[in-house]
Amino acid sequence: MTARRQRTLAGTAAGVALPIDRRGFLGGSAALALSASLPLALFEFAAAKEAGTFTIAHLADAHIQSVRAGEFVRNWDRGLIRAVAEINLLNPPPDFVVFGGDLANFGTRAELDHGAEILSALRPKLRCVMGECDYYLDLGEYWSRLFGPPWYSFDHKGVHFVVLNSVLTYEEWTLHRWPTAEQRMGVMATIDSPDSSPFLVGEPQRAWLASDLMTVNKRTPVVVFSHAPLQQIYRDWNFWTEDAAEVQALLAPFSNVTVIYGHVHQLQYNQIGNIAFHSVVATAYPLPYPQSRAQRQSYLPRLTIPMNRADPFFERDGTGWQFLNLTTGRADIYYNLYNNSPRNVAFDSAAGRPADTSRQGSELHTSIQSPY
């Protein structure tokens, strides 16, 4: 495993002095550096020497849902509000925050506006990823007015970041099959709908990606933020990217690639060739692992150690948010999970793949490949 930098709520050696002696019990006077206490570190990118060390907070799948005019599902609201409040406590603050898609549940302006308002309380800069529940009502028009283009790239401290809209699908399905936009949205928002259609990044966006990556040094760490997995796990639930192989081929020349995706509402991680894959958990609700639906074979990565099953009484159980610590390009992800022990998944450079830092023994892996 790469050397990991610990982030804490209180700050690091670089943290500023705080006014702490107002109370008698505190004693002393000089503010000291707090060495590694809170395991609140997130994705850590360790790779190229020129890559800086920094932290990103990531939250996703809020599914803000209108009940009626001016009223939203309380449970989903509370998940997003809590994640935002907790991310704001990180000290020093993360360099930026990524929202990984599905801010809305049915893509309406009311839902997107309400979600954007909750997200506006975040102190760090926010970058957003398009989810299918944001997209299929108006094909992303209002989302883009709020958050900007659905795919783009940027460089930060030696890492090349790419944001994709990976929730597109075939043109015939999108444009010519549904009498109303609401019906289209409803089908795509249903996880096991037989009328749904597999996610695509699509040829135009792949062409853009190819040209975007053309100017990037092959040793520069590349981090891709996507809503869909960019791999193929379970087609019935769209834990799937139909053109995953083509997208992976574009990323293949780079020595150090990490894909961070949402959509699955559960903890997954995988390694395919040079690409490490990490899912993020939802702020709204967990989804079952695909092998729980036994009709069809699923391909949950064998190295993934699943999350604990949630206690439904505690509505936040099974939900959470995460930090990414990036030092040299590899992700070290800390999952803040309510009513559960936190999970930490980091790149194991000896094994060449991500691993849970406290549960690495193969004997601890649940056999999840077979539904029987």
Binding site: G11, L26, L32, L40, F313
Partner: protein
């Protein structure tokens, strides 16, 4: 449940029988007879009142009558405080169901105010962690702390206690009897163990609810309370944290939850206070003292101990046994009546419905939409949890 994690209480009679058996090569028949008698003796000794499970006894602190009597003496001794005026029983008074009701937060040495409502010691023997924030792992661990807390008993160290228990003839005799130790060998370990042993005898159940539910007496509890039990199990969502089992009920899950009490008081200051607290901890502040002396630090709850974000503003689920006679309520005593408590939960974790819900609220707390009748019944149910020993105490159910 802690059952099974400790060997059960063995009475002095049983222990002597066992050691005698070990030392004598008895025939199988005689051994079986003696084992049966010993078993009967141990059951008698360990018997808890109707509605409570057997008491967990740590292996390194077995019960004995001498030790319990010594613990009771220590518990009531005011000399173990800097002014000679405060004993454990000041805040855990037997005639107030082992609380200091009706105080909101406790008053300690030289009338110094604390930040926490004194929790009852009745049935504390069953808690997996002690204190509202769980900062003590056992009764033995808990017992050492108030002596040297600046706002509780005010000693600067344990020397005055050791001087007294090693020289007072009554204590010398009592420690010889309970621990077979000469005065010079007595240490705080035995002081703590004796107090804990005494506390393990404070078992209070056998309430109307217990007689109705576990004793199957159909008329032991009013019809309103019976309806209230249904609210407790269902629409009130109470049972998920205030748990009951098949044959007994502790009314606590021994876990920690942010239920929206206290944390809102520091809402506007969290961004400043949180790093301040952690930095102060890294410099070695005494958390025991800080959480009782500083009103703002107190509201962090279990987070002040664990630094785990899920514990922000979280406090231990208290038992509901004898709740009607231990007002006021919550870790800070901020709610005066059971009606106030039910209203707080009914509002979804805010006392004033117009107030903003805590961002860090437990996922188990949400608006309940109880009817007035359900609220009245639920309170009647909680009033049926009073043990006969406390039945004469005033209740705080008035709206």
């Amino acid at each position: 449940m802690t059952r099974g994690s400790y060997p059960w209480y063995h009475s002095p009679a049983e222990r002597s029988v066992r050691s005698w058996l070990r030392g004598n090569g008895l025939s199988n028949i005689k051994a079986a007879l003696w084992c049966a008698l010993a078993w009967a003796a141990s059951v008698m000794a360990a018997e808890a009142p109707l509605g409570l499970p057997p008491v967990p006894i740590p292996a390194d602190n077995p019960m004995s009558d001498a030790k319990v009597a010594l613990g009771a003496r220590l518990f009531n001794d005011k000399r173990f405080s800097s002014t000679g005026l405060v004993s454990c029983s000041n805040c855990h008074a037997p005639d107030k169901a082992f609380t200091d009701s009706p105080l909101s937060t406790s008053i300690g040495i030289r009338n110094l105010p604390g930040t926490r409502n004194a929790p009852t010691l009745a049935n504390a023997a069953y808690f997996k962690r002690e204190f509202w924030d769980g900062r003590a792992a056992s009764l033995e661990d808990q017992a050492r702390r108030p002596f040297v807390n600046a706002v509780e008993m005010g000693l600067s160290d344990y020397t005055p206690i050791l001087q007294i228990v090693r020289s007072d003839p009554q204590y010398v005799a009592a420690f010889r009897s309970a621990f077979a130790l000469e005065p010079a060998a007595v240490d705080m370990l035995q002081v703590r163990q004796a107090i804990a042993a005494f506390e393990r005898t404070l078992l209070y159940a056998d309430s109307p609810f217990d007689r109705w539910y576990f004793g199957h007496e159909p008329n032991a509890m009013s019809e309103s309370a019976q309806r209230g039990f249904k609210v407790f199990l269902e629409d009130g969502r109470c049972q998920s944290c205030h748990t009951i089992e098949e044959t007994d009920a502790l009314f606590t899950d021994n876990r920690f939850h942010n239920i929206g009490v206290g944390i809102n008081a520091i809402r506007g200051d969290l961004l400043r206070l949180t790093p301040e607290l952690l930095l102060a901890k890294s410099r070695g502040i005494n958390v025991d003292k800080a959480v009782l002396a500083d009103q703002q630090i107190a509201e962090f709850g279990r987070f002040a101990l664990t630094e785990t974000i899920d514990d922000l503003g979280a406090f231990k689920t208290p038992t509901l046994r004898n709740v009607a006679v231990t007002a006021p309520y919550m870790h800070d005593g901020s709610l005066a009546t059971l009606r106030d408590v039910v209203d707080h939960y009914n509002n979804g974790g805010v006392t004033d419905p117009a107030d903003r819900v805590s961002d860090f609220l437990s996922g188990g707390i949400r608006p309940l939409h109880l009817t007035e009748q359900q609220i009245v019944d639920l309170i009647a149910f909680m009033e049926a949890l009073t043990s006969p020993q406390f039945a004469a105490l005033p209740t705080a159910s008035a709206p």
